[in-house]
Amino acid sequence: MNAEPSVRVEDKLYYNRYLVDVGRPHVKVRAHTTPSPQLLALLKACPARCYELNDKGQVEVTVDGCIECGTCRVIGEPTGDIEWSYPRGGYGVLFKFG
């Protein structure tokens, strides 16, 4: 039994507050034709489901819902598949409780 299709991450992220740094994503995926196993793992491992496959079968990231955990960095940075930073000061997720 793998990912429950019934879990909608978007609904969960809707509870959170964000200040999105428009046009300055803090995580980037290296251009590729076929995704590495590491990149494919991010489709499932990212808790905010920021990684998705496009129609060419490449992995893309949209950081608007990112909760800045660092999981994708731990998996994807060693192979050079992604570049990972924190957002600029004050931007990104704003936890009320944490």
Binding site: K44, A45, T71, I75, S85
Partner: protein, 435 residues
Amino acid sequence: MIDERFDAIVVGAGMAGNAAALTLAKRGMKVLQLERGEYAGSKNVQGAILYADMMEKLIPDFRDEAPLERHLVEQRFWMMDDRSHLGMQYRSEDFNEERPNRYTIIRAQFDKWFSSKVREAGATVLCETTVTELARDDRGRVIGVHTDRRDGEIHADVVVLAEGVNGLLGTRAGLRARPEPDKVALAVKEMHFLPRETIEARFNLEGDEGLVIEAAGTISRGMTGMGFIYANKECISLGIGCLVADFQRTGETPYGLLDHFKRHPSVAPLIAGSEVKEYSAHLIPEGGYKAIPQLYGEGWVVAGDAAQLNNAVHREGSNLAMTSGRIAAEAISQLKSRGDRMTAKNLSLYKKMLDDSFVIKDLKKYKDLPTLMHTNSQNFFLTYPQLLSRAMQNFVRVDGTPKAEKEKMTLKSFVKARSWTGLFGDAFRFARAWR
């Protein structure tokens, strides 16, 4: 501002950073603390249990004003399979004491208060500022930081890296390696709001009494991981975490696991009817003693999660962070008062003081446990919970089977699943790692 020179720059306003900045400022040092969040706490995630002893060492009368949720009077451990849990429960009236030992807290609120104390002590605290890089001289010594706020460097005699588990600056500067997937866990967490009375009734609490449930078993689907449920005043913190390497290997999703945990028949009634107000995620250092990196160097020290100081067995992290931050600051101020420079040789005093504290002693005690749990995760987190649940059911279900036969069935199921050598081996390895 930029032209000013500081005695110390502290990166991060979490538990370690606040402890360090407070201690330095109280000892009269000129401190600049930099935090990337909108305010101290706005990026931080924890269960969260606060250990009073370590907090008292920083702010003795914190109970009078800190935003505390509930003091803990009860601890439950649950070993879960898909439909049941086998529990151990410890509750004591002794915990209803004048100066309680453990509290639940809400990190974003607690850190904000803690930070106000750091300011009061005289430190300059700058939020909404991400430190992008360490500044170094031509001999590689750390002399300050670069931030994303303004051009130029800010200089200090020493930089305290209290930047949390990801430790990006330290990695970028080559001071330590990036955390590895099998040395960090990813935890996801939700805040479930309910009326106070409902929480107290469901958990059998009175007034500000609190309770925590730690859960392991099939909820982590054979991965190394744990679930938790903490009662706050008007909300319940609920979450689950597993090693990143296990997520990577199995393709399980963190939110799938969380949802499964929430729907477990033992958990669902506790949160029924609640309103979820936040979903968060964070890494937890799990590598233990063997994962501790170099702790000091020319012009820098590292404390807290950034130094991977976390006791996964006892779920202690914030107290190790607070203590290491405080000890780092004490070492620095000792050097400063003697007029000694912040060289690696002199800053080794920090490591010496930390080695003598409970922080390193505790981590050393369990140095073999993280590897054991990880390499045997199928047994410890899937097979044993199922076996124990079956054993318990054999014991309590009255169905006319003779007791002797029931016991034989239980024993057989254990041996069948793990073999005698497996059982003895596991028990032996576990006892040795725990010793």
